[in-house]
């Protein structure tokens, strides 16, 4: 466990630099090679210095005996990734900035992207049913809960479960809706390949967010059930293994979505550049 307090923050601090350095540099006709390479060099140096500082802070805290504090340096990931790595990735390849303007023109489709067409309301019904059943079981077993934990603990426990389950559904629905609102810039002329990629990507994001919501809800219910009726300590194992698995899968899905987005943006950019060449 102590080693984890060192490994996890170090992994989080090194991830941005590894991700940014492995991002290939794309130089097309619209970009000046010398200018791009110079900017990449500056941003790369800044990222490396910031990473060294972050790692040094974690290691110094660890060596100084403040192992718990060292474990909590992992949020340094956020300034490292969003403040240093992301600008470098965008400098290497403008397609990494999904909402960035590649040139002075920008096009959009007139198609109405309705989230209901991707994940229909009916798909949510089984999840609501599971929540309703769980609520029913808790009401039914209320007396046993009170006997085992006392009134105040039972009330607090049920309230935490209800808030967590409700929060999970609201965030899930919001996330699925947000997939339909993500920017989808087009080239000036309709392109069937780009349209198809956008449809596939939208569907993938919506259904994975939906799946994540369902699995998180089920994990919450399992944990709540184990707390009341399960063997002692079981909830810790199920909760930590299930939560960590969901987190890792979520991270992988996020990276896949980003790579797909970049692929589409690169295509939009190349189609627009090709059209500009035709006009010239």
């Amino acid at each position: 466990m102590l080693a984890f307090h060192l490994c996890f923050p170090l992994f989080m601090e090194l991830f941005p630099v590894l991700f940014a350095l492995t991002t290939p540099t794309r130089i097309d006709a619209a970009r000046d090679e010398d200018e791009v390479l110079q900017r990449v060099g500056v941003l790369q140096t800044r990222l490396l210095v910031a990473t060294v500082v972050a790692v040094a802070v974690t290691v110094a805290l660890w060596v100084g005996g403040m192992t718990r504090v060292a474990g909590f340096t992992w949020p340094l990931f956020f300034p490292l990734f969003f403040g240093f790595a992301r600008p470098l990735m965008i400098a290497k390849n403008p397609a990494w900035g999904s909402n960035a303007r590649h040139d002075s023109r920008r096009s959009a489709s007139f198609e109405h992207r309705d989230p209901q067409r991707i994940v229909p309301a009916s798909a949510w019904l089984p999840l609501h049913l599971v929540n309703a059943v769980m609520a029913g079981v808790l009401v039914w077993q209320w007396q046993e809960l009170v006997t085992n934990f006392g009134v105040s603990h039972a009330i607090v426990g049920v309230m935490i479960w209800a808030v967590a389950a409700g929060f999970c559904i609201v965030v899930g629905m919001f996330a699925v809706d947000a997939t339909a609102r993500e920017p989808e810039p087009r080239p000036d002329e309709p392109n069937p390949q780009i349209e198809e990629l956008y449809v596939k990507n939208r569907r993938f994001r919506a259904w994975t967010f939906f799946g994540g919501t369902v699995l998180t809800s089920l994990l919450l219910h399992s944990c709540a059930t184990l707390i009341v009726w399960g063997p002692s300590g079981a909830v810790v194992w199920i909760g930590s293994i299930g939560g960590a698995t969901l987190g890792v899968v979520g991270g992988i899905v996020g990276v896949i979505c980003d790579l797909r987005r970049v692929k589409i943006q690169e295509l939009v950019r190349s189609v627009s550049l090709a059209k500009d060449d035709d006009v010239r």
Binding site: R105, R106, S107, A108, F110, H112, R113, R181, P190
Partner: protein
């Protein structure tokens, strides 16, 4: 497809309004077609929500679109009936004159310009 140019001296709201009007004129947007929500179009074009909302309001004032609560904004008509025809003719003439002057100053002949206008007219009137 709606395209805007960030370097253009024409305001973004006017470009969006003109883009939707053009799409209605050429039949790309038929009567009853639901337009993308303000939030979606603003995200796709990389502009502020208010810019798109203002463009939709301008289109509504012209009678081209209608916004209904819960149903979004849809194409109401494919012709602008709100303005008298004489005013429209005056407006079109006023817009044509500088364009034709530009063409003449650029050295295009009358036949070339006529051909150009006819080609553009075919695009606009192709769907009846």
């Amino acid at each position: 497809m709606l395209t805007i140019n960030f370097d253009s001296p024409v305001s973004l709201t006017a470009q969006i309004t003109d883009g939707v009007r053009r799409a209605i004129a050429v039949g790309e947007l038929a009567a009853g077609t639901v337009l993308p929500p303000v939030r979606q179009l603003a995200a796709d074009l990389g502009v502020n929500l208010n810019t798109v909302a203002r463009a939709y309001r301008a289109l509504e004032e012209r009678g081209l679109v209608v916004t209904r609560r819960g149903r979004g904004t849809s194409v109401a008509a494919t012709t602008e009936t709100a303005r008298p025809k004489r005013e429209v003719v005056k407006d079109v003439s006023a817009k044509l004159r500088p364009l034709l002057s530009d063409a003449r100053l650029a050295g295009l002949g009358a036949d070339q310009v006529r051909e150009l206008v006819e080609r553009e007219m075919k695009l606009v009137w192709k769907r009846g």
